[in-house]
Amino acid sequence: MAVIEVHDLTKRFGALTAVDHLSFEVDAGTVVGFLGPNGAGKTTTLRMLLGLVEPTEGSATICGRPYEELPDPLHRVGAVLEASSAYPGRTARNHLRIQALAGQVPSTRVDEVLDLVGLTSAAGRRVGEFSFGMRQRLGLATALLCDPEILILDEPANGLDPEGVRWLRDLLRGLAGEGRTVLVSSHILAEVAQTVDSVVILNSGHLVVQSTLDELTTRAQDKVRIRTPMAERLQSVLAAKAATAVLVAPDRVEVTGASAEQVGLLAAEQAIPIFEITTDGVGLEEVFIQLTAVAPAKENAR
């Protein structure tokens, strides 16, 4: 059952179209990566989902309702939209006390979430003294304060060091293990690839693909590079076998859709000498880059 539904969502800022007729759904209990390069329209979409930005067209609902109509919204949805959304002169504990009062949770919960994000020792320090990574952790503590069933996290790994990224990954895995629904945005697929069940990829405000991570993985094809004095001949032979062969130099061919063994055997059958043959693995990240590079880019997005 879908708990987040985005339908034909569009946002224009004057002549600028930030989100363009975007539709996708997030099922309950799944962890979904919301991916796209910087300026793809991710943040604007999440802000429309949370009732902070008014859509120009379309709808975005959580549990079938616009965010502003949810009863006890902080208990349904926890969100991290920007790491610096805290008054710098206030201590971390006081920042959370205010949110605890807003969410009507006991102040003992403040200490629990501070411990969860590893900020107990910094609870009495002013937020203005925090590093960016510590602010990200405070943002996550704020989102988790009311123990929500749905989490919407906008680039939570930004500013975290490698240890922090690993900590975040473990935290997200733990939250997913508890059956929560998580929509986490990132401009780097690798940050969330080990955590998410599926991905929604957008570029320039348009949906590029919504698929499971497994489906995306199948798009990742190895590339075989060959050096041969009969490159044109090899290219035509490979094309006849439905492989994609590109002549990148007079003596070099790059092939996708065929393995090095298949290319080697075919060349032997056709008496084409091979001087050199190598295989480059194409990772998910390259697939992501390819997908977002080929998407339509009519107008810039936020």
Partner: protein, 262 residues
């Protein structure tokens, strides 16, 4: 609504700026009340001797600063939500933005009560100390002194709420704070000095007359020494200031409050 006001009050209590503004307001009140008291009766600045009700009243009603700084606090608590991006969290917790605005206005009014009370007690204390120092009889009755203190409290509370309207409308802390000072100390002073018939209806002037300040008494510019016109009755002056605050809130609800929080 009570919970929302408690949230806003907790925000106020946990930010240093509020205490800084209160301290500044108190210090300026003490300074200007002491200056007025030390110059009273010397015949140069027009302040009557301290043994007269007029002279003592001039000193004990130096409470205009509390109203200006209460308004500045209101501007800061409302526009600060956008400066520090905390509006996002505030509206996630309470998506009904009108209720947030009203709660902020009530919390700022509560802070204004403290600003007005502290300022009035300091000004009254300075006046009584100078009177005692000269060995004069206290020319003002306790009822009058209490009425002036109550007026300062009401004026500062209403200006706190008004500041929230200004800050929410402009969303710019700098523009809001400068606007409050320029309006109260420059624009009202010029208008009040030029058009004495209009002066009682100017919001800062009306708020100061609540506290027993003479028309133009809180002005720095041309209006300070200009006599003429009668202050509005207490209820009318309070209604006028409350009305201006309410109009600012309504304009905010119909304009900037609906804007996207980006």
């Amino acid at each position: 609504m009570i919970r929302l006001v408690r949230i806003e009050w907790l925000k106020l209590r946990t930010m240093r700026t509020g205490f800084g503004l209160l301290a500044t307001s108190a210090a300026l009140t003490a300074l200007f009340a002491s200056l007025e008291a030390s110059r009273a009766g010397n015949g140069k600045n027009g302040v009557a001797p301290l043994f007269t009700a007029s002279g003592l009243g001039t000193v004990t009603t130096v409470t205009g600063w509390s109203m200006i700084f209460a308004a500045v606090l209101g501007v800061i608590v409302s526009s600060g939500e956008f400066r520090h991006y905390t509006a996002t969290l505030t509206y996630l917790g309470t998506p009904d933005r009108r209720r947030v605005l009203v709660a902020k206005g009530m919390a700022a009014a509560g802070a204004g009560v403290i600003f007005g009370l502290v300022s009035a007690l300091i000004a009254t204390g300075v006046g009584l100390i100078f009177v005692a120092g000269h060995g004069y009889h206290v020319a003002l009755g306790s009822g009058t002194l209490v009425a002036h203190i109550a007026g300062a409290v009401v004026g500062a509370a209403l200006f706190g709420a008004m500041g929230v309207g200004i800050g929410s409308l402009l969303r710019s802390q700098l523009a809001g704070v400068i606007g409050v000072f320029v309006w109260a100390l420059v624009i009202e002073s010029i208008i009040g000095g030029l058009f004495t018939s209009v002066r009682p209806y100017l919001p800062y002037t009306a708020a100061t007359t609540l506290a027993g300040i003479k028309l133009g008494g809180a002005a720095f510019g041309p209006a300070h020494g200009v006599s003429g016109g009668s202050p509005l009755p207490f209820a009318a002056a309070a209604a006028l200031v409350l009305g201006v605050a309410a109009v600012l809130h309504v304009i905010t609800v119909r304009t900037t409050l609906r804007r996207d929080v980006t």
